[in-house]
């Protein structure tokens, strides 16, 4: 066992770190685009809203593995040479953007229009209106939901092993070809994912409980 850890622990740990980097950076980039998409959805402009809606529905109604495969095929056709890890990161960002857009849209919709009208009546500008009125109410809704999304992303990212992105699941496949310790390696990797995903879920639950009193709807 100690031999195993010293020889192959590094490979697994590296895969684990790549999963964390892949998911967190992809999540951060995707969230920015998700916010933009959410604004398009609630903008009231038909064309913009339709465009954003099509994107969101397309991503939300297709499997992540297919999305990743399509992205890799597209990269090949366009002759764009990127590290597989970077392509995987883009895939995570594309996926995040769609789900994040729905989360933020739901939050924005839960704020009554009267508040915006009231703010305008008090001559509060759009920036200040967002900072002082919309954002503080958005947070208790969006934060727990997006942390939950992060947990889902960690699980979905395992599919990236299917397109040879060197993340945790892929590193497991590598170690197994060298050791033939099939059950042991998958069990270790399972535990690593469990620790990662369950702690993120616990954080989401903590945030939800903590921010409940901020939520005007309850």
């Amino acid at each position: 066992m100690t031999d195993f850890v010293t020889t192959y622990g590094g490979t697994l740990l590296q895969g684990f770190l790549w999963t964390i980097i892949l998911v967190s950076v992809g999540f951060a980039i995707g969230s920015v685009f998700g916010a933009i998409l959410a604004m398009m959805l609630v903008s009231g402009r038909r064309g913009l809203a339709w465009l954003a809606r099509s994107y969101v529905e397309l991503i939300r109604n297709t499997p992540f593995l297919i999305q990743a495969m399509l992205l890799f095929a597209l990269m090949g056709i366009l002759r764009i040479r990127l590290e597989p890890v970077l392509v995987g990161l883009v895939a995570v960002a594309i996926y995040t953007a769609a789900y994040m857009a729905e989360i933020i849209r739901g939050g924005l919709n839960s704020i009554p229009d009267g508040q915006r009208e009231g703010a305008r009546a008090l001559a509060i500008g759009p920036v200040l209106q967002f900072r002082l009125i919309i954002f503080p109410q958005l947070l208790p809704f969006v934060l727990p939901a997006s942390v939950n999304l992060l947990a889902t992303l960690c699980k979905e990212s395992a599919f990236l092993a299917g397109v040879s992105v060197a993340e945790l699941t892929f590193s497991g496949q590598v170690v197994i070809t060298q050791t033939f310790l099939i059950f042991e390696v998958w069990a270790i990797i399972g535990v690593l994912y469990l620790v990662l995903v369950l702690s993120i879920m616990a954080l989401a639950e903590f945030l939800e409980r903590r921010m409940m009193w901020l939520n005007p709807a309850r």
């Binding site: 499997p63 395992a158 599919f159 092993a161 994912y193």
Partner: protein, 221 residues
């Protein structure tokens, strides 16, 4: 545009993959529902060890990626128990069912939690047996509440099902890859598979939304 039409032309080649995906997901969804009922029963049994093991099970399934569950069951367990080769198709069905059962049990639990306690007390006062209570009073109320979310869970099941292509099951995803190898077209078959998945999962989420709108009419929200 011509390219898109070309991609659509590969759809017939993908149909047997689509059928496999449908069969696997349909079977897994039914098994998952049976499992979910068992989990809910265990959680409500009041027997400590049953409650604890059901809770641990649901937590494990919620935290473990479906890819790892499938790899554990297809590669790991047979290696540990020296079973030799096992059927990838059945392992896939079982893995999706095990996973789906945990999530569906949460849906059922949530639906049951919304019923008031007075219902069971009233039913017992009228002399109904425990079985009659569930069949006549509770289940007809749980179903409309749970059905939209259950349909949503079937959508998640289909979205997870390409995991089976990673263990040699020729489902829609793997069929698309095979057609790619035959036609030397890296994008078309995948695009066609993507469209098929989109209509499949999209129609289920449409049904889910329809049920939600339909079944909540006239109820105070």
């Amino acid at each position: 545009m011509k390219y898109v039409l070309g991609a659509i032309e590969t759809v017939p080649l993908l149909l047997d993959g689509l059928v496999t995906t449908l069969l696997i997901c349909g079977l897994a969804a039914i098994l998952a529902l049976v499992g979910a009922v068992a989990i809910v029963a265990a959680k409500r049994s009041g027997m400590r060890w049953l409650v604890v093991s059901a809770t641990i099970y649901v937590t494990l399934m919620r935290g473990l990626p479906i890819v790892i569950l499938v790899f554990l069951l297809y590669f790991g367990v047979p290696a540990l128990l020296d079973l030799g080769r096992v059927s990838a198709l059945w392992v896939g069905v079982i893995a999706l069912a095990l996973n789906g059962a945990a999530f569906q049990s949460e849906v059922l639990r949530g639906a049951i939690a919304r019923l008031s306690r007075g219902q069971s007390e009233g039913a017992y006062a009228l002399g109904l047996s425990r079985f009659q209570l569930w069949r006549l009073v509770l289940t007809p109320q749980i179903l409309p509440i749970a059905l939209p979310a259950l349909a949503g869970e079937i959508g998640f099941l289909i979205k997870a099902s390409p995991v089976l292509s990673l263990i040699t099951v020729v489902d829609l995803t793997r069929r698309a890859q095979q057609v790619t190898m035959q036609t030397f077209d890296p994008l078309g078959p995948l695009l066609a598979a993507c469209v098929l998945y989109f209509f499949l999962i999209g129609s289920i989420s449409w049904v889910s939304r329809y049920l939600e709108a339909r079944l909540t009419v006239g109820k105070a929200r």
